[in-house]
Symmetry: C2
Subunit: 343 residues, 2 copies
DNA sequence: CTGTTAGCGCGTTCAT
DNA sequence: ATGAACGCGCTAACAG
C-alpha cells in the first residue's frame, strides 16, 4: 500500500529470506556473504547459492546506518551547462571506482537558496564527502566549515582560505602558451581575450606577460577584452590585422575566440601558421579539431582535477588531514596545426 | 574510530540528542519535527529550537529504511561526454524538484560489465527508480524486467517492447526541416548526413523524403553519408556545389555538418541564405550561434524528454502503470539566419 | 562453526 | 499530549 512495490517485478529481497532459504540464521548468512572466515565451506556455498537464486542485493542503507559510512559523495555544481564541470565530474566518478562509491549530482542553477536546499538534502543522505564545482575560476562563498564531512572545491575556489580548493593554473597556462609561440619563432604577439571580470582572463594575461617579459618581448598593442565568443574573436582579429599588420601570432583567451581569429585570418588571406600563429585555451574538443587548421590549445587537465578532488575526499575519510588553501593543477600544451605546420 | 568523524567539524547530530536537549522523548521530538498535530505548541517550539541549535538534519537513510522509499533515482548513462545526455539529465533533475529527490549519476563508459556493476550498486542503494540514458537513438539491450523498481529508457530505446522508452522523433524532425526549406521557397534540396549506421541518420532521411514526396519534389542526388563532422560537411558540400551547381538548399544531418556546409558556401562565394539555405539538427548552442550566418536548426527538446522520464518514474512510484513501448518527443524548429535573411 | 542478542536512527503504533 | 516499545535490514559482539 505504501507504493513500495512496483507493478511488474518483485520487491527487494532481504537477507532474512536468503537465510531462511539456506536454512541458517541471518548472522551466518551475513558472514558467508561478506567472506568472513568463521563459516564452513559447505554452509557458505549454500548461502551463496540461495542469494544467487533470489538475486539478493544487500541493502546499502542498512549497512550505512550501521557502519556510519554510506559510500556516497555529493557533487554540487552551479551549472551543468558549462562544459567545464563535465570532465571534472567524470574524473571524480571514476576515481571512486565503479560501484563502490556513488555520486549524487546536484545542480543548483547558480541559485544560493537552491544550493542551501541541496546541501541540506545531501547531508541528510549522509554523504561521506562533498565536492563543490563552479563554472568559472573566480572564488565563491564557502558552504561552511563545521560540516560533518570533508568538502573540496573544484574549479571555482572557496573564498575562505581554510577550505581546500583545487583549480587549474591559468597563470601557468598563459605562460605556457606564450613560451610555445616564442619557441615557434614568433615575437610580435597580440592578445585577444574574453570578459575581463573573469579571473581566468586576468590570470592568463598575467602568465602571458610574464613569459613575454622573461624573453625580453612586449605584447603588441593592449590586451583586447570583451566576451568569450567566436564573433569577438573574428572582430578583434580584424581590428588587429589592420592596426598591426606585422603581428605574427594571436594569443586567444579561449578556443572559441581562437576559432574566430582563424576565420578572420582566412578571410583576409593570411596563412596560418605561415603568416600568423593562433593558440587558444581549454582544448575543447569540438572547437580544436574542427577548425582549419586544427587549433593548438592549452588543456587545463580538468579530468585530473576531478580525480584529485575525489582522492582527497577519500583520504580524508581514512583519517588523513584534508588540507586547505588553493592548489593548482598544471596545464598541458597540445600542439596542432595552427602553430606548427603539418606536412 | 570508524573514520566516521571528520577532523574539523562536528559529527552528525541525531534525533536522540535533539530530544534530550529539548527534554522530551524521541517520539515526541519526531512528531514535533514532522508537523504531527498531537503535540503541544510550546513543546514543539522547544524541539524546533533545539534542532535549530544543534543544526539537526534528519538521517534520510534511517527514514528510508523504515518507509521503504529513499527519495533517490539512478541515472545510468553510457557516455557523459555526449552533449545529449546533459540536457536530459538537467530536465530530470529539476522535474524531481530540488532536494526532495536526489539523482545518482553513473557513467558506464559504454561498458556492459561496468553497467551491470552500476546497476547492482544502484539497486543496493534502493533507488526508487531508474533512468537509462544512451547517446545515440539506436536501441540498446534491456537492463531486465523483474527489477524491483520502474525503469525508463531515454534517447536510446530498449530493444524490448515491454520496456518504456522515450526518444526524440527524428522522422518528424526530418519532415519539419524539409517543410521549412520548402516554405522558404526552396525546391532543389540536397542532403548531407553522418554515419549511416545511426538510426538518427536514417530516421531523418525517412522524414525528409516523405516531406519532399508530399510536396511533389525529389532529393537532388543521393543522400551523402559519412561522419558527423564539420570536415565532412565542408567536403561534401564542395562536391555538391560542383556536381549540382543549381541546388538552393542543403539539409544537413547535424549542426556540425551544417557548419561545414556554411564554410564551404562562404569559401565559394555562395550567399547564405540568398543563394543557398542551410539547416541542421540538434540546435547545439555553440554551433548554431557562432556560425556565419547563425544556423537554423531542429531542436529535439531533450530537456523535455528528461523531464517526462522523471515524471513517469514518479507516477509509477505512486502506483500508476508505468506504460511500455516507444514514445516520441516532438521536435521544434528554430529559425535563424541560414534559411531566412536577417535585416 | 553457528545462533542469539543488541543496536545503528527514525517513525509508528499503543499505552498512559 | 507524551513516552515506551517495536521494527526497517543489517553487522558486530558474544554465547553456545
Amino acid at each position: 500500500m505504501a507504493g513500495k512495490d512496483h507493478v511488474r517485478g518483485s520487491k527487494a529481497v532481504t537477507l532474512t529470506e536468503v537465510a531462511r532459504l539456506a536454512g541458517v540464521s541471518v548472522a551466518t548468512a551475513s558472514k558467508a556473504l561478506n567472506g568472513r572466515s568463521q563459516v564452513a565451506a559447505r554452509t557458505r556455498a549454500r548461502v551463496l547459492q540461495a542469494a544467487e537464486q533470489l538475486s539478493f542485493v544487500p541493502n546499502t542503507l542498512a549497512q550505512g546506518l550501521l557502519m556510519g559510512r554510506t559510500g556516497t559523495v555529493g557533487l554540487l555544481t552551479s551549472d551543468l551547462q558549462g562544459r567545464f564541470v563535465i570532465p571534472i565530474l567524470m574524473g571524480a566518478e571514476d576515481a571512486f571506482g565503479a560501484g563502490r562509491v556513488n555520486v549524487f549530482l546536484c545542480d543548483a542553477r547558480g541559485d544560493t537558496i537552491r544550493e542551501q536546499h541541496q546541501l541540506r538534502a545531501l547531508l541528510s543522505r549522509r554523504v561521506d564527502g562533498l565536492i563543490v564545482v563552479g563554472s568559472r575560476t573566480d572564488s565563491r562563498s564557502s558552504v561552511g566549515h563545521d560540516l560533518p564531512v570533508p568538502v573540496v572545491y573544484v574549479y571555482a575556489p572557496s573564498d575562505d582560505p581554510e577550505d581546500l580548493s583545487l583549480v587549474p593554473d591559468n597563470v601557468a597556462a598563459g605562460r605556457l602558451a606564450v613560451e610555445h609561440l616564442i619557441s615557434c619563432g614568433r615575437s610580435r604577439i597580440a592578445h585577444v581575450t574574453g570578459d575581463p571580470s573573469y579571473a581566468a582572463a586576468q590570470d592568463r594575461v598575467t602568465g602571458a606577460l610574464a613569459a613575454l617579459d622573461a624573453a625580453g618581448l612586449e605584447l603588441v598593442g593592449e590586451v583586447m577584452y570583451s566576451e568569450w565568443s567566436e564573433r569577438w574573436g573574428r572582430d578583434a582579429t580584424a581590428v588587429l590585422l589592420e592596426r598591426y599588420p606585422d603581428i605574427d601570432a594571436v594569443l586567444c583567451g579561449s578556443d572559441q575566440i581562437a576559432r574566430g581569429a582563424l576565420d578572420t585570418a582566412r578571410d583576409q588571406g593570411r596563412k596560418v601558421p605561415g603568416d600568423i600563429a593562433v593558440i587558444g585555451f581549454d582544448n575543447w574538443d569540438e572547437m580544436v579539431t574542427n577548425s582549419r587548421p586544427e587549433l593548438t590549445s592549452i588543456d587545463p587537465n580538468l579530468q585530473l582535477l576531478g580525480r584529485s578532488a575525489a582522492q582527497r575526499v577519500f583520504a580524508a575519510l581514512d583519517g588523513e588531514e584534508l588540507g586547505k588553501g588553493l592548489h593548482t593543477q598544471a596545464p598541458r600544451l597540445v600542439i596542432r596545426g595552427s602553430t606548427v605546420a603539418r606536412r
